[in-house]
Symmetry: D2
Subunit: 378 residues, 4 copies
């Protein structure tokens, strides 16, 4: 079944393999009239680009994006926006040796079982390069959110067990790990060097903060905001866990500790405030007006040079050492992917929420609710 399209109203369809001719995305359902340039998209892609530091793959790709449709005279037209990045630096030979066996921690075996064979070059479709399309689309989503007063910021909260102790988003761009705490980043640097020396890899936790969300976004009962956010993050290859707010720690608290007391609004008629935010900005699947906090656990890069035991396609035991050019940790480059998937999901849910109340729908179409005998509620 088709599985490369995400979203209901604002949709993205990604395509392309690690070592194919190109990769790309078609963004559909984007409103018309948004000023958009290739530079804006590129600035996002540069955050996931390989070769940014010695802690990421040495693969040398500019990942220059081209907008092929959907933008006219510098503005979106409301029609599909097709964006493409052509592959350049493909050392397919690096992968030939592993074509005949299954890399531990990878989807190779699943792909062969599912499709009968696979494009074994650099993981083909299951390569991290597939996220290029997500990030390009995310750049547009982030821009839409900004125009609605919503801000999305992802960052590395923990790497190799080293957690940020302080939180200053502006520092994320000042260290190769996108951490909001330079002291933690320094410790991580030492730890990564060690792992690289061991020809091994490490994982971490990426967090995302959303500010300015309107209240009541999310569609009961299956299209809950947190349900879709968690699907969005779990659709990223290496994610093995997702938390909203206090996440797993809620299992150990009591109702009286975990419930966030509501406080009066700052301005009459304004959004309510909460004395705490254990819920992470989402209650019953709907945004509650507080900042949204979502967290994803990212596993260590499975591709390591260190020798591993596995089997060949014919089931014969074999030891492999994956050469290629792999990131000792993918957390830093995955940060912008988490930000992109979060933003795309928020745009889709905000759009989905526009038909919740008939009085608002009447006004949208230039009708007075009273004339239509629709009672006001707010």
């Amino acid at each position: 079944m088709s599985g490369s399209t995400y979203g209901k109203l604002f949709t993205i369809t990604t395509w392309g393999e690690s070592h194919g001719k190109a990769l790309g995305v078609v963004v559909d359902g984007c409103p018309a009239g948004i000023p958009l340039s290739e530079e804006e998209i590129q600035s996002f892609l540069n955050r996931r680009k390989p070769g940014q530091s010695r802690y990421t793959t040495k693969r040398n790709e500019d990942d220059m994006v081209e907008i092929l449709s959907g933008v006219f005279e510098g503005r979106t037209t409301g029609t599909p926006i097709s964006m493409t990045v052509f592959n350049k630096d493909q050392h397919s030979k690096d992968y030939s040796e592993i074509a005949s066996c299954y890399r531990p921690g990878h989807a190779d075996y699943g792909f062969d079982a599912k499709y009968g064979f696979r494009d074994y070059r650099g993981g083909g479709r299951s390569s991290g390069r597939e996220t290029i399309g997500r990030v390009a689309a995310g750049a547009i989503a982030v821009k839409i959110l900004k125009s609605l007063g919503v801000q999305v910021h992802a960052y590395a909260e923990e790497i190799g067990g080293i957690r940020c102790e302080t939180f200053n988003l502006s520092l994320c761009m000042e260290n190769p790990f996108y951490m909001p705490d330079l002291a933690a980043a320094a410790k991580v640097q030492t730890a990564v060097e060690k792992q690289m020396a061991r020809q091994d890899s490490m994982g971490g936790i990426i967090a995302c903060q959303v500010t300015g969300m309107p209240v009541g976004i999310g569609e009961p009962v299956f299209e809950k905001l947190d349900a879709n956010l968690s699907k969005a993050l779990f659709s990223i290859g290496a994610v093995k866990g997702v938390e909203i707010g206090d996440g797993f720690s809620v299992a150990k608290t009591s109702g009286s500790e975990n419930n966030d007391p509501f406080l009066p609004p700052d301005l009459e008629g304004g959004p309510l405030k909460k004395a705490s935010n254990h819920a992470g900005g989402i209650l019953g699947g709907l945004s509650d007006g507080s900042d949204i906090f979502i967290r994803a656990a990212v596993k260590p890069t499975p591709s390591i040079a260190k020798e591993q035991q596995t089997v060949t396609k014919t089931g014969r035991p074999v030891a492999i050492s994956i050469r290629g050019r792999h990131d000792p940790l993918i957390v830093p480059r995955a940060v912008v992917v988490v930000e992109a998937m979060t933003a795309i999901t928020l745009v889709d849910m905000l759009f989905a929420g526009m038909t919740a109340n008939m009085a608002d729908v009447c006004r949208f179409f230039g009708r007075s609710p009273e004339d239509s005998n629709i009672p006001e509620n707010h």
Copy 2:
């Protein structure tokens, strides 16, 4: 936007409020020819029924299910299966007092902001009773899975910080908490009594084990098996976190520790085995043939008699003590809901996987792949 339908090929549409006339579900896309009786559905509903023990709400509901369509001469016909449970014991007056304010930890505020007003009786649509439809549908999904050799078992892994030390699924039915460890269950019993005395509540962790899944189920790149399972569990009201396999602990390990080495199959041509299962049975979004382990963090019941601070609809501070008849912990009754949502998702994904390989599709329609010049791969 409509949000009460779940699934793509095998879909469920739930409806109904806590204190409305009835609740129900329409199951569509169910294959024809499956023997099905109301008794089979009822046995699942009884696992989430209120009043099973003194640790669950005193609300007295039989929750007797009626099949209104889609079954003829004892077998499913392939047409929509409509199942309904009529509400009986509704003490709406219990809720009148909280109609005018927002319960902490609940979606009340979000519902009012979204829809302009809400059915305040017992949480209306956001009540746990909505899951009746999910469980009834889950009973059918579990039956489909059984006929395909797939078994799904959910259980309470941890409650109020007390974890199971031993694992014996058959013991789940022998304690009111559905825990596979009677010693842990005994400790939980004492802890719950304490919380009840404090008019407070507690949370926990529900785990689900899936055995017998074919390899390669899941649709790259957005309809990954884990992505859909996580959405399914996060769509359950009180869930705040989801993990697959080692979950968040992967953030602290190394690639060499976290990768599961593949082992030769028991029988030539059989599924590969793995030396470990840190991945929890899913790699790159596809089932890998090992048991699937998924885990959901459930928050403490937000409805507690203990006094809490909140505000009225007009924003005035107020202290409330929620009377009603609430579970001191919802984990036990949520176990079967987790099992149901997992099973529904697995059926949908298994069906979605049937078109992955052209040779298989040819055979399904009675054609020889060779005649159609389609190469065999497996």
Copy 3:
């Protein structure tokens, strides 16, 4: 695959068989705050009710609808609206004789081939009674459209080759055929009597007029307004053709004749007018502001008492005479079904159109387009 849910944002899920316990529909994505009563739904159902005249089936059903969820204190809550009609007058024995063979013009053979067996009582799921759910949902859609200034009126344009010569919608309720021309209706009456005497049936053409549609509704390129309207009408059992505006006659005209010249608006800034309306109110899949005219060809009732040749399930030739209680023509009762499916589709497309323009989206969320650097266009 599930096929009983229709619509993307405003969805209906119908269920039930002709001789099952009940039939019904779940309407999801209906905005909150709409005053709604069972009487309003019933008035629509009464238009398709059996036994309205001697020209429709003698089956005696009140078809009383019950609203089971989604309405609180007389208004829609934004949650799923479940509506049910219980079957009463079921003469299942009437059908026993045809259980073993395939009725010509019916889906019996297809159902057996698809599902392996079928509920043969009165056509089961393929019975016209399935449309009860559509009509109940249509009543809600018509109400939403009214509040947005859109009116939908279906009528019988032609029956048994007899066409309406005059057009006065108010007359539709004054004749058993829902024709806007009483003279034509009188001729039809004579013709139907003849067919009934011959134990035969007749077909006709149902037309639907939509007034007050905003301009630009429809989603290029696959969710065109006419594409969805045509799917909606073709999803009604007996429909074999659909036309928009001049329909098939456009094949014989020239561009200069078929193009509708645009005229200046009545009021500055108001919608443009057209000198003609060959396009039937839809250009390039988008509403053009003129009245929408859509037309559906309905085949003669396939169930006739007149003897017909067919085969048994085992392929043996047999002659059958279908007794049961069938309409000599279904056009009159199908008129309200066409109106319902048209209204449901229009609501869904109107909602889908709300995200087309970023400036409008900004305003919806209380933002000024200028502040967000979004240019005005209109």
Copy 4:
């Protein structure tokens, strides 16, 4: 809302404008293992290519297709197939003059009203060039159908009121109008010359024949086979009517004439035959094993040099004569588009039908229905 993706399991997402950098399509859900080359796609595109005869636009485009993903070592991999055609011969200036007014018979006005502005170059997204993506995808669908024994053939049945009297599909390629009757084609040639001299255009009817369809394809009640086919054809810009089988003429017949008597199968257990095929191969929304006949009415090309009255964007009356390079009739080039959309829909519906019967599903997953207590029915 996104509207550029079509299909549920086998999906196509088209993108691109008439005068943008490129146009293309992403085909997702295509089974793995299908041998596929750019030449096969190109042979389909050549049938809709401009400049094939003096009766089609003089625009000079090779429309060379490039496959950018989803094919490895000559076979489909099961991942998205991205295909692109770059625009070359774009005389944008041709269109500058009509940027400021609304062309009669076109979607210009609707686009401006919907999106606030439009890409006015050659119709932008509403240009016939959008169908390039559909045809490229259709080439793959036709190949899948062939491997399942299903053949699809579209042809021009009538042009400018001149109907084919004889039917020989092999002749379609021997005349510029793709008509199965050379005598009719000759008459059409004279008629077109006349219209061209008048700077006017003409329309016609495109028919499509499907042979070899399995019985029972189509999903009750909304995803009926004919409902989806009609949506598919109505999604093609100039289509104003669709018929299945006898179409509108059924409105004038009687049940006894219109019902197709079933006949015993040729081989025991084989598909039933019918004495006639008024139904056009579809009964109750399911394929009945007979050939499927579907018909689409195509309006005359709205772009004509002949002077027409219209208004400017500001509502001022103006006379325009559309220069550009337009087809005097688009029927010939639309034939392959109808074939493509039909094929894409059939593949999607065939796939959707694979889960109808539990016994078949069990076998697909290598289980014996008996072992699973699933009764056989066929």
